[in-house]
Point group: none
Chain length 242, copies 2
């Protein structure tokens, strides 16, 4: 169960152990789980290490604590769906569709004033501009236009884009993605958009403008994605945290 000689930290092993118990129903929702001291004694580890595992689970919304009472399992169905930032690839697989993409444009451009403002770089600093048609089961789903500062994305090339941009980021940029701001609009497609999406010009599209930030606060990318409205709806969760 817990292997002290494993290269995996003990708190992480315990965290996974508890997650399993919750998934299997052994620790049901709204029920107490063993106390910190119980875990500490059972696995012969320090209570502080147990707390580190539990702190992570609290942060993930998997469990919650009550002073003097104990630690409880959260209602799972809520936590799972809280809006996450997913890549196109992840999203399509989740929906049971086969993702692919077709590169339309790959250029290095100089940023104009508006863009440099968004990306928090100097005007005329070089950026990658990448335009791709995203397909699901070989049918056009969306057009994705990505703007990334060359400074922030080393060694970005066409072959990288065959796969997930997120995977590239995770592998090549140590600073992790933290959050994104999105703005969503309904509008009619431009002529080029209608053609790339293979839809009639009187069919509306969903336009999503996204700015993605890293943990350091740096801007990773500014992205516009235009979705076929007949094939795509955006699903997400909101929480009310008064």
């Amino acid at each position: 169960m817990i292997n002290k000689n494993s290269p995996i930290p003990i708190y992480h092993q315990l965290l996974e152990y508890i997650k399993c118990k919750i998934a299997s129903g052994e620790y049901p929702a709204d029920e107490l789980i063993p106390s910190e001291r119980e875990f500490s004694e059972k696995f012969q580890i320090s209570r502080m290490t147990v707390r580190q595992a539990l702190n992570n689970l609290v942060q993930e919304g998997i469990v919650y604590r009550q002073k003097g009472k104990g630690t409880f399992v959260s209602r799972q169905q809520v936590e799972k769906k809280i809006s996450r930032l997913n890549s196109y690839t992840e999203e399509m697989i989740e929906r049971g569709l086969k993702p692919s993409s077709r590169l339309v444009q790959f250029d290095i451009l100089n940023s104009d004033k508006a863009l440099s403002n968004i990306l928090k770089i100097k005007e005329n600093d070089p950026i990658y501009f990448i335009k791709r048609v995203r397909l699901a089961d070989s049918i056009p789903m969306s057009i994705e236009s990505i703007h990334v500062s060359c400074d922030i994305a080393p060694n970005l090339n066409q072959s990288v884009l065959e796969k997930s941009f997120f995977d590239y980021v995770n592998a090549n940029i140590p600073d992790p993605i933290q959050y994104a701001d999105q703005s969503i609009q309904a509008r009619m497609p431009s002529e080029e958009e209608a053609q790339l999406l293979e839809i009639p010009p009187n069919c509306p599209v969903l336009a999503i403008y996204r700015t993605t930030y890293l943990r350091s606060g740096k801007v990773l990318e500014y992205e516009l994605t235009v979705y076929r409205a007949d094939r795509y709806k955006l699903v997400h969760s909101l929480s009310r945290t008064d």
Copy 2:
């Protein structure tokens, strides 16, 4: 600076101390702050206590760490707008517009199969059906159709709807709102929708389907809101919590 006899935990005092230094510019963005051991020695507190302060700041996105290097100030001190669940009234005021509404329909109906499923009630159980045109600065912005189980919303009447439905809920339902699932689509308006929104029939709309849940897990309401795409865009934040 740090008072060990204060009822305020030491880690919290240190956390506020660091926040102040950042706000005053003494710890500038992207710059190193003192190491954990420095804080520990300077204030004569345990390094674990320093870590607790720093962990909280990392969680808030105020600082970030790099193994072997140190702890840095994040670039963006702007408070992140984690997607919140707001009422129409709140949202419009935030955008600097004057909200109002015009009641189109107020009825008690029997729920059909699909609706009873969503609201988690029995088929044919009575529901309130409320349709309102929402205005901003006296111009139609959206059409809101709310479905609420009569069981869950006592004393709901037309006069309540002059104001915010959220305010009514907060005042009359002890179980607080916890979260909502939304599905967002772009589409063309129906004839009735175009007429109520005072837009031409070839102008697209943003259709948002929302199910709102209470902390107990009960469903508060199922709502369809149809927005004029030319006057409304949806803005929100997503976080990536790996």
